[in-house]
Subunit: 194 residues, 2 copies
């Protein structure tokens, strides 16, 4: 009996994510969102509740797709170390492809809002832990295979690698220089050798 939704919710979340990424949460107006998504205020409010609801949903969507992309890099090779390198390559590729300098939504809004929005902080933290977990598993495997140095614990190394990835976002957004980013990654990863 009912009229069905005329739009794809996922597409809307993607558009919203791009806007929030480019202009920040407070810099993005409901009018921007209406224009970019092409649908009306009513539809947005009816579907997502309010601006913050739409924001959180697009943030969660982004987080999941990022996590998916990450895990895809873990199966590229039998070598854990090569897979870690693949993760770094993927991130750098992503940063360099971002010509509009929009950056990573998770990092952007975590810095914009961490003092005032605990929901955002919580999502960032769990995302950070997930990534560190993935890295830690790869490191543990690499250490037992003997291709990664046992000088530091998997946990410590995974934290260092996540830290480097986060740094690359910040650095890369402000200086999108392929050679510089690759060299930073090479040095950060050289810890795994020996």
């Amino acid at each position: 009996m009912p009229k069905t939704k005329q739009f794809d919710e996922t597409e809307v979340l993607l558009k919203a994510k791009e806007l929030f990424c480019e202009k920040g949460y407070n810099g993005t107006s409901m009018d921007d969102l209406v224009q970019a998504t092409g649908l009306s205020r009513s539809s947005i409010y009816d579907t997502f509740g309010d601006k913050h609801g739409l924001f959180m949903k697009s943030l969660n969507y982004y987080r999941c797709s990022q996590q998916g992309d990450l895990e895809k890099q873990c199966t590229r090779s039998d070598s854990p170390k090569k897979n870690i390198r693949a993760i770094f390559d993927y991130y750098i590729k992503d940063i360099l492809a971002d010509r509009g300098r929009k950056g990573c939504l998770l990092i952007n809004v975590s810095l914009e809002l961490s003092a005032v929005d605990k929901d955002v902080t919580a999502i960032f933290q769990s995302n950070m832990e997930d990534i560190e977990q993935v890295l830690s598993a790869l490191i543990k495997e690499g250490q037992s295979k003997g291709e990664i140095s046992k000088k530091f614990s998997p946990k410590a190394l995974s934290r260092h690698l996540f830290n480097s990835l986060a740094g690359l976002r910040v650095t890369g957004m402000n200086r999108p220089d392929a050679d510089a980013l690759r060299e930073i990654a090479r040095i950060a990863l050289s810890i795994l050798d020996e």
Copy 2:
């Protein structure tokens, strides 16, 4: 003849910096600034032009004081390597002292505005270059003294270290765990050892 200014411009810039840091550029209203600084709209507009003018001035002020703090750490010891460690210790202390999770104004607003405000990007870039320069000089000196490995160039190492510092801000704001941050620093700095 004229009535003299009734307030200290530096104090106002400091207050403004704290607000912009906590709530971001777009999240900070002129009303917030009026309340926090205690002076009137007229005085602010007369002294700084407009919101963006006040913002840029407080950003520049912050950048200079940060640069000063950094250089102070470079003279603590005769050992370049120890001075680099001092820089990292200083940064981590700063991050842990930041209970309100306000973060670093330069990083925060560079991520919030880099897609829309080229002035901010320019300041961040020159700040990044300055810091890398300081680090590079210390590394070069350390290498010639034989206390820092020559495996990587000073430029590459300085970029890696800056990248780690930037990462620490992001990581530390979301997980202000002293042990975790210190261990990340220890690993990032272990590159300098043979």
